[in-house]
């Protein structure tokens, strides 16, 4: 568990679950499927070990993107299922909701995927994800000591992220 430095070395404790308003967890993947960040604030149920969980999450998103590009009713010309879509090519989904959680998704042109899992009553989080992307740019991309494609270990980013997520309704 030491390899995923998200929740273990965090200076700020997980937010109490009583409010129920805060986010459950957050993932950041790069275009190759490497999990750059996994933050967990409120997750009572763990079905799989972390590596499998990340792979499953990435796989689900990859397939869902492929599915939405194929199912797009406004685009007459479509590729076949299974062909990897470039970021921005074809219709992409931005969120899905189940009875227990809502997953919001955003992919940047460079292929960095931001996933935020919240309670199902949350509204549209596209602006929130854009703000988090800006935090990523400021604290991670502009960090001279950060190697792209590796795990994010920037304390300032973690703190800023926790603070911001606590503030979203």
């Amino acid at each position: 568990m030491q390899f995923f430095g998200g929740s273990e070395i965090s200076p700020s404790p997980p937010v109490p679950t009583a409010t129920g308003n805060n986010a459950h967890m957050m993932y950041i993947f790069n275009r190759n499927g490497v999990c750059l960040l996994y933050r967990e604030w409120n997750r009572p149920l763990h079905t799989l070990n972390p590596q499998q969980d990340h792979k499953l999450m990435f796989g689900l998103l990859f397939s869902l993107k492929s599915l939405t590009a194929k199912m797009d009713p406004t685009n007459a010309e479509k590729g076949n299922l299974g062909i990897p879509q470039l970021p921005g090519q074809g219709c992409s989904f931005h969120s899905f909701r189940t009875n227990t959680y809502k997953l919001s998704f955003m992919e940047t042109p460079s292929g960095i995927k931001f996933i935020l899992i919240t309670n199902p009553r949350t509204g549209d989080l596209r602006e929130t994800l854009k703000y988090i992307y800006n935090l990523y740019v400021e604290y991670v991309a502009k960090n001279a000591l950060y190697t792209p494609g590796t795990l994010i270990k920037c304390e300032l980013f973690n703190t800023a992220l926790d603070q911001y997520v606590r503030s979203i309704a």
Partner: protein, 141 residues
């Protein structure tokens, strides 16, 4: 004006048993619709695994740039999903109406084999009426 693009019904094993297209560009051929249905079935199942809390029953709404997908799963595992314009209201109610039509005209049909593709004329007729009525009501508002 809100529009429904297509309706799918998949059986509990993920096989497509009914597909109706109401006017999307790029109509899918049979093979593609079968693939899409099975893919949706798997995604629905995987999404339950990733839930942070217990009791997840799968994706109910998928929001994309150009369409929304509403899904209703019955207690037996049969899934009804509809692809519509973003922001269309009352799709859950429509799916429940389709479920009722399914139980009345398909399941109660003695010649219908379970899990097989639906070929019941009365179901088609009543379904078209239900979708039309939905359109008329929306236009009237």
């Amino acid at each position: 004006m809100s529009a429904i693009y297509s309706l799918y019904i998949i059986n509990k094993s993920g096989g497509l048993i009914f597909y109706k297209d109401y006017g999307s560009k790029g109509r899918m051929d049979t093979n593609d619709s079968l693939r899409v249905a099975s893919l949706w079935h798997s995604m629905h199942a995987i999404s339950q695994q990733l839930s942070p809390t217990t009791g997840c029953t799968g994706i109910e709404l998928l929001e994309a740039d150009t369409f929304d997908l509403h899904c209703f799963q019955s207690l037996t595992g049969t899934k009804f999903f509809v692809v519509c314009e973003p922001g269309t209201q009352n799709m859950e109610a429509l799916l429940k109406v389709v479920y009722e039509l399914y139980t009345d005209y398909v399941l109660k049909n003695p010649f219908y084999e379970m899990e097989m593709p639906i070929r019941c004329e009365l179901f088609d007729i009543n379904l078209t009426q239900a979708i039309q009525k939905d359109r008329v009501v929306l236009l009237g508002r």
